[in-house]
């Protein structure tokens, strides 16, 4: 029978660190094993808790400590005036702007048959904004021959709130995006909806949102079919 899956391997899957044969083997196991999927879900939940508990906004800076770079800035000022025009925009989007998918990742999506699953697990405003921007960027993107890219936007955990009719200030934006991009599919996880029900929340989804029994299963299936996976 199947050997137990190590925590290290499950972590690597949850952190999107697996590739090739290891990932394929684990995807098969996940598709057939509720308990294993629950563990992956729990790890995603934990990751989100850790992230939410350490907001970047809590960072503080000391103005009097910024003087260190003045000596660097001044001799360059004249050159910068000339260079500024050429330089601006080069790094308009980079790894620090988490709501933008960088070029190499877009290329990876194209080499995965122009298909991508974008996964949202949280309703934290920063995450939601990043999710919407990424979804739109992906929906607008073109494959190498100019055709559209297939995008599945999968929400579970509190991320389901984004796809809700009631209480979602971003609902109109989501609906407009769905109408604009025929290649964008919105998917909510039923397990997450049930958990919200258990807590007494009424969940009414936006029109054109599909429901799957489990987000993890859906992601596992898509990855098994060769789709690229991106977590917001």
């Amino acid at each position: 029978m199947n050997t137990p899956v190590s925590d290290e391997l499950l972590n690597a899957f949850a952190d999107n660190q697996l590739d090739g044969a290891e990932k394929a083997a684990l995807l098969e196991r996940l598709a057939a094993d509720d308990a294993l999927r629950a563990k992956v879900c729990e790890t995603w939940h934990l990751k989100e808790l850790v992230r939410s508990a350490h907001p970047q906004a809590a960072a503080r800076t000391r103005d009097n400590r910024k003087s260190w770079h003045l000596f660097w800035r001044m001799p360059l000022a004249a050159g910068l005036l000339i260079a500024f025009g050429a330089a601006s925009g080069w790094f308009a989007h980079d790894e620090y702007d988490r709501s933008w998918i960088p070029g190499p990742e877009m290329e990876a999506i194209r080499s995965h048959g122009n298909r991508v699953v974008l996964h949202l697990v949280s309703d934290e405003p920063v995450q939601i904004e990043a999710a919407l921007r990424k979804a739109e960027q992906l929906a607008k993107a073109r494959d190498r021959s100019g055709g559209p890219i297939q995008v599945e936007f999968v929400a579970n955990g509190t991320g389901v709130h984004l796809l809700q009719e009631a209480g979602s200030p971003l609902a109109q934006r989501v609906v407009a995006m769905r109408k604009t991009y025929a290649n964008l599919r919105l998917i909510a996880c039923n397990e997450a909806i049930e958990r919200l029900h258990e807590k007494g929340e009424q969940v009414t989804l936006l029109p054109d949102v599909d429901v799957v029994s489990s987000a993890v299963s859906q992601i596992a299936i898509r990855m098994g079919q060769g789709w690229r996976y991106l977590q917001v």
């Binding site: 972590n11 934990l46 850790v50 960072a59 000339i82």
Partner: protein, 181 residues
């Protein structure tokens, strides 16, 4: 063109460095658990980055590179205070002040519980979990930043998450597995 490219790269480096400050501070704060010490560590790391910016091969890897410099500054600090200790196992409660004002002001109990659970992890595990979950570095980058084998990254992460899950489940900050289904 050469000069222009150099100047624009320098400018971008400086801007990116400044933009990194809040993220580096958050990371330093989660490692040393002291806002004041985090200020000093980030300041030192940024000064080092500025001095050595020629060593950065491409801007794409700037953040992992900065995390590596910050980790070195932090480990140097620990060595200075505890020259004989194994850094990964140090219980640094004695080295830094606990309970900064912002801790007291935290409104969310959940946030407090999670932060406390992370803060109570052994340092080696805490470093790995914050680099993976907050900084979203790959395991290979974490291994390079902390100068440890990738297998050690995975085992520390596994122990850290196991501890965090147990503790947060006990405090009902994380649903029990049976309820997740």
């Amino acid at each position: 063109m050469g000069i222009l490219a150099f100047i624009s790269r320098s400018r971008q480096f400086e801007e990116k460095l400044e933009e990194s400050r809040p993220r580096l501070w958050r990371l330093a704060r989660s490692w040393c658990r002291s806002g004041a010490l985090a200020d000093d560590l980030v300041q030192e790391a940024m000064a080092k980055a500025l001095r050595n910016h020629g060593q950065l091969r491409d801007m794409e890897s700037l953040h992992a590179w900065l995390c590596g410099i910050l980790a070195n500054c932090w480990h140097d600090h620990l060595r200075l205070h505890r020259p004989m200790a194994d850094i990964a196992e140090v219980a640094e409660d004695e080295l830094v002040a606990e309970g900064t004002p912002e801790d007291d002001c935290l409104q969310s109990q959940l946030v407090q519980r999670v932060r406390r659970a992370v803060a109570e992890l052994p340092l080696g595990q805490r470093e790995v979990v914050t680099l993976v979950d907050l900084e979203e570095l790959s395991y290979a980058d974490v291994a390079a930043v902390l100068a440890i084998p990738i297998g050690t990254v995975m085992s520390r992460l596994s122990r850290a998450r196991s501890t965090l899950k147990d503790q947060l489940r006990r405090q009902e900050a994380l649903p029990r597995l049976a309820r997740i289904k």
